[in-house]
């Protein structure tokens, strides 16, 4: 029963090798989707290219559906899969800062690194800025520690907050995503900028 690395005695080097291989798959998928192009990524916020929302929601829904089926067939113990912990203030404030960074830089760290790997110089500067940002955070941590640890709620799950079963919530999420995909395609037609989409 998965996850495999939770079996005791799993060698550390194998764990890291798996990390590398999964990362390779991650980078490959990101680049194939076109996320190595910053203008394609920010297209979602101006309407001319909504690839981000399509890939993003398809990916998390595929993983969500897949993990639930695996759990149902006893192949994966979902209690042993990490669930992000909810720190209310930090999640919101951090998210707002990230949004600003996204629209300025045109990347997120994963896409930035995959763009860097194919030679995008703006991605290089983005990653350098990113390393600096991590350094800044580490050095100024005592100042922001209180904000970062504020309002801890634990690894809460959405379906519990709403009082639904995971399966039902998944269905609702899929329905919402399907509507969003349809709207996204409409938006692409309405806000089309062929001069950009031909270049990227």
């Amino acid at each position: 029963m998965g996850p495999f690395t939770s079996i005791s005695g799993f060698p550390a080097w194998l764990d890291l090798l798996i990390a590398f291989i999964i990362g390779t798959g991650f980078g490959f998928a990101l680049e194939q989707a076109g996320f190595s192009s910053s203008r394609k990524l920010v297209g979602m916020f101006y309407g001319y290219d909504t690839t981000v929302i399509k890939v993003f929601f398809t990916a998390s829904i595929v993983a969500l559906v897949g993990s639930q089926f695996l759990s149902y067939f006893g192949l994966l113990n979902l209690n042993l899969v990490f669930v992000n912990e909810y720190y209310v203030t930090a999640a919101i404030v951090g998210g707002v800062i990230m949004g600003a960074g996204f629209i300025m830089g045109g990347f997120c760290p994963g896409t930035g690194v995959s763009a860097l790997s194919i030679g995008k110089i703006d991605a290089l500067f983005y990653v350098l800025g990113g390393l600096t940002g991590a350094f800044l955070f580490a050095e100024t941590y005592p100042l922001i520690q209180h904000l970062a640890d504020n309002a801890y709620r634990g690894p809460v799950k959405i379906n519990e907050v709403l009082g639904l079963t995971p399966g039902l919530f998944t269905l609702l999420l899929i329905a919402a995503a399907v509507i969003m995909f349809w709207l996204a395609e409409l938006a692409e037609k309405k806000f089309a900028r062929p001069d950009i989409t031909n270049q990227i």
Binding site: L78, N79, G154, K157, E160, T165, G167, A177, F181
Partner: protein
């Protein structure tokens, strides 16, 4: 159909299946710690050993005794009718089918009160209702049910009733626990089948 429509249809179908599958849903701890603590301390959550003795001899089907000790301790002796959920395994087992049965009161016990109280808090935190603790645990059971004697000349009616319950419970306990393992297992299994009928149906 273009790709978007194909993917949408596939995902919607899968989502529909998931929504209707009987998945237990992975529980995380509900409730704020301080509220949980208040409820644990002030609710009427204790049964005395005498009350549990009465449940045992009448084979009361509205309660479920849960023995929190190790499987070896459980096998050597336990209160008749109890099931074994070792305390250390509480968080790695799916407790839904044991602890979340309609209108059945869970009574936790261990050697003393510590593990039983913790188990109570865990069960409550996981969202199960109807949790209780046998006060004093097996130490109290032994003191009160197995080894107590009545002294004095007169005996009130109430004391008489308690005395009778204790004697019958003592006998039941000794008989059940001195059975060979195979018979004990059969007894437990017959209880299991009854329990499933209580639970079951096409819900």
């Amino acid at each position: 159909m273009n790709t978007r429509q194909k993917i949408s249809v596939i995902l919607l179908l899968l989502g529909l299946i998931l929504a209707f599958l009987p998945l237990s849903g992975n529980y995380s701890f509900h409730g704020k710690p301080d509220k949980l603590l208040t409820e644990a301390l002030y609710e009427n959550t204790y049964f005395t050993a005498d009350q549990v003795a009465r449940f045992a001899i009448t084979e009361d089907s509205t309660i479920q005794l849960i023995d929190l000790r190790s499987p070896e301790e459980f096998r050597s002796f336990s209160i008749p009718g109890a099931i074994n959920i070792p305390y250390g395994e509480m968080l790695s087992k799916d407790l839904e089918s044991f602890l979340n049965r309609e209108n059945i009161r869970n009574i936790f016990y261990s050697n003393s009160d510590y593990n039983a109280n913790y188990a109570f808090v865990i069960a409550k935190g996981l969202g199960f209702e109807n949790n209780y603790v046998m006060k004093g645990g097996l130490n109290e059971w032994y003191r009160v049910v197995m080894n107590s004697e009545f002294s004095g000349d007169k005996i009130t009616a109430r004391e008489n009733a308690i005395f009778e319950t204790r004697t019958r419970a003592r006998r039941l306990f000794t008989e059940m626990n001195s059975m060979p393992d195979s018979l004990k297992a059969k007894y437990r299994e017959s209880k299991e089948i009854e329990r499933k009928k209580l639970d079951g149906g096409c819900e």
